[in-house]
């Protein structure tokens, strides 16, 4: 086994192995998406997208779940965006190192690492039971808001940091106060970056299951108010697949879910790219 391999040969071998492993990873990703699409695209129709869910999902469409997903995600974003952007503004513009900055950063980091089932437990005991909001869009939305908060904080932080310092100095030299500078110069300049964070947050909210199933519930009706229980697409897909209710409908729902995720990621990527190209 004392085969001696020269540095050039080992370089080539290493390159081939790394290339292969990277290729396998990419192939796995495309395989997952392709497999779902291959089996699911045939299910997509106007009736599937806008129809009522019948027989627990065996028949009919997924309109109620599309609406439910939309409402829960919008609710989460509406709550999380001001909190996340405000936090990031404070972190970048008002703190220079120090204990407060460390505490806030630690909070955001830990929150980002908390598994979704813990958010589910928390949302269930706090929003659903203690605050008596029941299984509802509002409980699900609030739980998801807490969950996506760190995503929005971190992305906004990066965006605000990327705004050149000269912008602020010009504003100050024209007599602008700190708040005016933030509202009229820094935030508009970092808007595309902030939107990226918000869109990534929407993506996480749409794909989430464990945190939503115990807070928004799994009712199949069309939601009528924020206090209605709803079954989001991800939860509906989970129930269809796990209880074996209908494989074709499961593929169809998964296809819709993945299309949303692809669109969300694509928009976020393009926005961030154009934004970064402007300042770097």
């Amino acid at each position: 086994m004392t085969l001696r391999v020269g540095p050039r040969t080992s370089q080539i071998i290493a390159y081939i192995i790394l290339l292969l492993m990277t290729a396998i990873t990419v192939i796995v990703l495309f395989f997952i998406i392709g497999y779902i699409f291959k089996n699911g695209v045939g299910q997509l129709s106007l009736e599937f997208l806008t129809g009522k869910t019948r027989e627990m999902g065996k028949e009919g469409g997924i309109f109620a779940s599309i609406l439910g997903t939309l409402f829960v995600a919008i609710f989460a974003i509406v709550i999380a965006t001001p909190l996340g952007v405000g936090s990031a503004v404070y972190l970048v513009e008002y703190t220079r190192g120090g204990v407060i900055r460390r505490i806030i950063s630690f909070g955001a980091d830990c929150l980002a690492a908390v598994p979704s089932i813990i958010f589910g437990l928390f949302g269930f005991i706090f929003f659903v039971i203690k605050l008596n909001l029941g299984w509802s869009i509002i409980s699900g939305g609030l739980t998801l808001a807490v969950m996506i908060l760190p995503t929005i904080i971190r992305t906004t932080e990066e965006a605000i940091k990327a705004v050149p310092h000269a912008y602020r100095e010009i504003s100050y030299s024209l007599g602008g106060g700190k708040l005016d500078t933030i509202l009229k110069v820094v935030l508009p300049a970092s808007l595309p970056g902030i939107l990226t964070g918000v869109i990534l947050g929407i993506g996480r909210a749409v794909g989430e299951t464990a945190a939503v199933i115990f807070t928004a519930g799994s009712s199949l009706g069309i939601p009528t108010s924020v206090f209605s229980s709803t079954r989001t697409l991800a939860v509906h897909f989970y129930i269809l697949a796990r209880e074996g209710i209908s494989m074709p409908k499961a593929y169809g729902t998964a296809t819709v879910l993945i299309i949303i995720i692809l669109v969300v990621n694509f928009i976020a990527y393009r926005l961030m790219h154009r934004f970064m190209a402007r300042y770097y």
């Binding site: 990277t22 929150l111 979704s116 464990a210």
Partner: protein, 277 residues
């Protein structure tokens, strides 16, 4: 004056993340920890889980969680590191620009989709190739390994890229090949970031729920092999929360407390590891 008020309001908003974390900690512990003491530690850490009969032993689930996490690392670390090294050192700007978002997309795919792919492809494959039920430690390990890839790749990649260019130039000047430079120099220089990425990936694997429920089989016993069915802490919470009441529900929050403590410890280690450089 206006600026002073704005600063106070922003400070209050900025505390929302840490306040949420404290709120989560408080409620999970308040619901779960009393049961651990009520049941007694020897009951709680036994292998008997029959919560409606007063047996709250979570040992088999802890072993289950550790097994699938270890399995996920075995899959995730080599592939994650390979992707990160390939992206950072062996590919041109154009390839980097295409591959990085593609790998990040893996993180965006919902966990239920991974679970589903596990059910329709991986589980039947394992059943036919290796025998057993298919729903197994092995299936969960492979799917979780894929799921933690993006975490390991992006953090390792960032720390590789952050190694100063002069290091590489010095190494090349001494006549080292690219691979020698990676192996003997860059991996050491970027060690802390790579370790942090692996630890955070580990946290994701321990905490993952829906994908694991769908493919691990969820049998309540300590698995004897990689082909046996297994149940994790997270699966138990999600499977039983819907109908649990009283001490049973408290026991699920106790599982949550244990999980939460593990995650926070892993996260603190990751922060410490990266903070040292």
């Amino acid at each position: 004056m206006k600026d002073k008020i704005a600063e106070k309001i922003l400070l209050f908003i900025a505390l929302s993340a840490i306040l949420s974390l404290l709120l989560i900690t408080f409620f999970i512990f308040q619901q779960g920890v009393p049961l651990i003491f009520k049941a007694g530690l020897s009951n709680f850490f036994s292998a008997q889980w029959a919560p409606t009969k007063g047996n709250f032993g979570i040992l088999s689930m802890i072993v289950g969680s550790l097994m699938v996490t270890a399995g996920a690392l075995v899959v995730g670390i080599p592939f994650g590191l390979a992707c990160a090294i390939f992206l950072a050192e062996f590919s041109s700007g154009a390839i980097q620009k295409t591959l990085k978002p593609v790998i990040e997309l893996l993180a965006g795919i919902p966990s239920v989709v991974y679970g589903f792919i596990g059910i329709v492809i991986l589980v039947p494959f394992i059943r036919e190739t290796f025998g057993g039920p298919g729903f197994s430690v092995l299936a969960a390990s492979i799917i979780l390994g894929i799921m933690i890839l993006p975490t390991i790749v992006s953090i390792s990649y960032d720390s590789l890229v952050a190694v100063p260019k002069t290091y590489r130039e010095g190494s090349f000047a001494l006549g080292a090949t690219k691979w020698q430079t990676v192996r003997m120099l860059l991996l050491h220089a970027a060690r802390s970031g790579i370790v942090a990425g692996i630890i955070l990936g580990m946290g994701r694997a321990i905490g993952e729920t829906m994908a694991v429920i769908m493919i691990a089989g969820n049998a309540l016993k300590i698995p004897g092999s990689m082909l046996d069915s297994v149940r994790t802490l997270t699966s138990t919470i999600a499977l039983e929360l819907g109908y649990a009441a009283g001490d049973h529900r408290a026991a699920l929050f106790a599982c949550g407390s244990i999980l939460f403590i593990i995650i926070i410890i892993l996260n603190i280690i990751a922060i410490k590891v990266t903070g040292r450089k």
